[in-house]
Every structure is written in C-alpha cells, then in structure tokens.
Symmetry: C2
Subunit: 281 residues, 2 copies
C-alpha cells in the first residue's frame, strides 16, 4: 500500500514529491484543492469534487484547465496506490513564477496530488459524539472557494484541541453560526434540521448537499437559514458534515451539553443513510 504523489503528470512516492519555492501556492496561497475519500477501494463523489474544483478555479480566474484529464490522473494515481480507505488530495496552484502579486503571464497551472491512508484516529467518536468550542470567524470573505487560505482553520482546530475538544465552530462577529473548521454544521431546532444557507461565508459542502438530498428523500424538514449561538446552544442535536467527517455528532459545545448529551437519532439516521449511498454509488 504505497502512499503516492502526482506532480504535473509524474507519479512518485510522497516523500520525493516537491514543488518549486516560487509556486504561487507556496508564496501567496494562490491555490485551490479538494479531498476525495475512498471506501472499499472506490473513490466517492468524484464528479462532484471535480466540479467544485473547476468552479474554484473559475472563481479565481485561473487559466482554463482540462478538468477531465486531472480527474483521470487522480483515478490512475488512486489505482496505483491500491489503498482501500484513502484520502486523495488534489491541489492546483496558479503556477510557478517569480514572486509578484499580480497574476503571472501565460504559464501552466501546477497540479499536485497525494494519496494517503485515512487513519481513524478515534473510532469511538462516532458512538460518543465530540465536544467543540465556538470561535470567532476571522477567515477571509470567500470561504465558498476551496482555497489553501487555511491558517484561521488551522488555528481554530488547534485551539479546540488545546481546550480538550475535538473541533471548533466558527461564529461571525455578529453571532451567526457558520460551520466547523473543516466541515459544515447542522442543528436540529424547532423540529427541523437547520443549516447555514450557501453564501460566501461557508463552503458548499458535497456531504452537506448529500445530507440535504437524503432529508428530501426521507421527508425530513430542513431549513437553510441563519441561526445564532444561542440557538446552537439550545439545539436538540448538532452535527458536522464533511468528506472525511461524514456525519459527526457534537454533544458538547463550550462546556454545555447538547440535548441529552448523547448521539441523536437524526445524526445516526443520516450517517447510516450516507454510508448507504456510498455502497450504492
């Protein structure tokens, strides 16, 4: 089970994979990315991830890229790595050019991928739920684009760990609850599932969309609307959603117990529904 990398058409062990120091991804964070998860040797939601990657590049006026070719390359790389349960990481930067803020002239984008085994750090958390802190959202204004502008996310996650919690939930300065440090957020409130509407403040999560689809199928009422921290605290259930996160129940926030402190039935059902989709795709 080798862990491999891909750089602009070449495949190699991850430890040999390097990029020039003047890659704009390195000096400006001028790069977009995706993480695709595999289950049982099959990548999941590939089309959706590449569609979002393509959108991210278009939003940032990257040069036109043959996204199908990159998708095929990801598939080839994944095939060679032969890792059943893998995270396939794809990062595309605006290219390599002497450091200058303005877009460079016509140069090729830089395509980098890695395949690594997903290690379940603590399988218990899906049974017990996790604890979280809230943290002020100081991210930039285009969180809908999946870029490597991730330092505030890094800081948030670390603050959560330092507080003895698993993750952090971003809350805007004026009290609107956004999402987790690398996941979207749902609450069960007033008998409905509630999640932040798609906007420039949150990532248009692929798992988020799948959950909305599952809810529609199962006739579970959902509202995409803003909600504040007090509604978060009073929610009957809270859970995070994401490609690696799946549906992850939050049972404690800022030291307060969520609902009855146990994993709720909505989260449980949606996690099962999600895994069902994986098997049937």
């Amino acid at each position: 089970m080798p862990e491999l990398a891909y750089i602009n058409g070449r495949i190699m062990p991850i430890d040999d994979a390097v990029v020039p120091v003047e890659d704009r991804g390195y000096q400006f964070g001028d790069a977009v990315y995706e993480v695709i998860a595999s289950y049982g040797g099959k990548m999941f939601c590939v089309k959706e991830h590449f569609a979002r990657l393509d959108r991210s590049m278009r939003e940032l006026n990257f040069p036109k890229v043959q996204i199908e070719g990159i998708s095929r390359a990801a598939n080839e790389l994944f095939g060679k790595a032969k890792i059943e349960r893998a995270a396939v990481y794809i990062q595309i930067s605006r290219g390599v050019s002497p450091r200058s803020h303005a877009f460079p002239g016509k140069i090729p984008v830089q395509v980098v991928m890695t395949v690594r085994k997903i290690e379940e750090k603590n399988p218990n958390i899906r049974e017990t739920g996790i604890s979280a802190i809230t943290i002020e959202d100081i991210r930039w204004g285009r969180c809908d684009i999946k870029t490597v502008q991730l330092l505030p996310n890094v800081i948030a996650k670390q603050k959560a760990l330092d507080a003895g919690c698993y993750d952090a939930i971003f809350v805007s300065k004026d009290g609107i609850v956004r999402e987790g440090s690398s996941s979207n957020l749902f609450i069960l409130s007033g008998g409905k599932l509630v999640t932040h509407p798609l906007a420039t403040d949150i990532l248009p999560g692929i798992t988020r969309a799948l959950i909305l689809d599952l809810c529609s199928e199962k006739k579970i009422p959902v509202e995409e609307r803003f909600f504040d921290k007090s509604e978060l605290y009073e929610a009957v259930e809270v859970f995070l959603t994401g490609t690696i996160t799946e549906v992850l129940p939050v049972v404690q926030i800022d030291g307060r117990t969520v609902g009855n402190g146990k994993v709720g039935s909505a989260a449980r059902m949606l996690q099962e529904g999600l895994l069902g989709r994986l098997k049937s795709e």
Copy 2:
C-alpha cells in the same frame, strides 16, 4: 549576479529550490515571511524585519526559532548573490508533515529564502504618481501578522491592473480605509498626515514606522486614526509606503483626481527623507 535560494541551510540557484508538497506553507498557508530590500549592496532595516518575523511566528505559536541564525544566513545568502539592488525574501513555515489541520508534533520549521534583483518596472511612477482603485477588504482578521494568506491581496492587485490602475486600496465593509494591497497608506487631510492606527486589520509596516519617525523629526503633525473613503477622496495628498514601494504618491483614486493631480510636497519630502535614511544607516 546569480539569483539564489536557501533552504534549511543549503544555498542553490532559485530554479533548483524545491520544498516538499506536504510543507504546511503549501497546503495551509501556515507560513510567515518578510521581504528585505537592499540599496547599493546593503540590506536595509534588517533588525526590524527579523524582529517582525519573530513576532509573526510567536503570534502563530510556531516552535521557538533562533532568529539570529536565520538573520546570519540571510546575510550570507545576500553576500553570495552579489546583487546590489535586491529583494531578499524569507519565508518560514510550520514544517513538513502529513496533511492535518492541527499543529504537527515536534518538527523543525522550514526556512526558505530567495534573493532576486529588484526590477523597477516603471521608474516614471515616482514622478507622475499612480492611480488606484478601492476594493472591499475581505482579508482575514489578522493582517497584522505577515503570513502568506495573500490571495485577497493577489486578487486586489490584479483587479487594479485590470482596471488600468497600479494598485488597490482596501476599504472595510463599513467604509474604513485600511491600506494598499502590499503597502500602508497615508493621506494629507486637514493639514495633517493621517494613517490607520496599528490594529489587527493592517500590517505594522516598517516603512510606515520610519515615516512616522521622520515626521516626528521634521515636526510634521501626524494622526494615527481611522478615516473613511470620503476623506480619502478629499485628501490633498495620498501615498503608499512599503519596503519595495518606498513612498509612492497616489494621484487618482476610483477615477477621481487626488488634490491637484500631481505628486505632492509631503510625499516628495518623505521619499527624500527615506532615501536619506537608507544612505546613513
């Protein structure tokens, strides 16, 4: 005049300088940087730049780093490159580790430097002044830390160029004028120089501090206070300040003429004063 790079103790041509794809600077923008300018074969404000670099790392809880050693290495690299008028770029990332948001365990930081010749793209602009656009400030909340979270700055600079201007001026959602895309901003208003106070919203510029010092020496009244876009539009003079920027007059903003449309006497005097300091350091 070779353009050289340095990576963790090794010096090489820039084109050979590479970093691992799992450098956290590349995947998270988890890195800080400085740019030092040289004049006549001598680096300027070295102590101030390394003090700020050190602060940036402390603010982000980087592992302790021997900043003096890095400063010596920068000096050695600069000496080898033998470029009279150079930009010495220093970037330090939190290190190389399999991708995971949380801080990695005890691993060394990654120190990367480059030395490149500064090309004056258009020497005329110091005589004629530049035009600028204003743009909404969508940067993250810690612009006082000099990190590579620079994608909004990249976008701003490119928008300015696309509009036929030289640079962009960030203005907060509620109308407060912040700074340029890679420089601080001063205006001459009500007979005083005015600039944004030090806060998490702007970079604590080294040239900004030098200008304040020059003003104090020359008894030019200065106010560090907030001001809005209408005060910017009505200013008698506007100029940007920065390591590479020096004192750069802005004579047109959003298509409106600043003052009489010519480079003002305050900007001219402070540019001369700045160059005088360089010669005497």
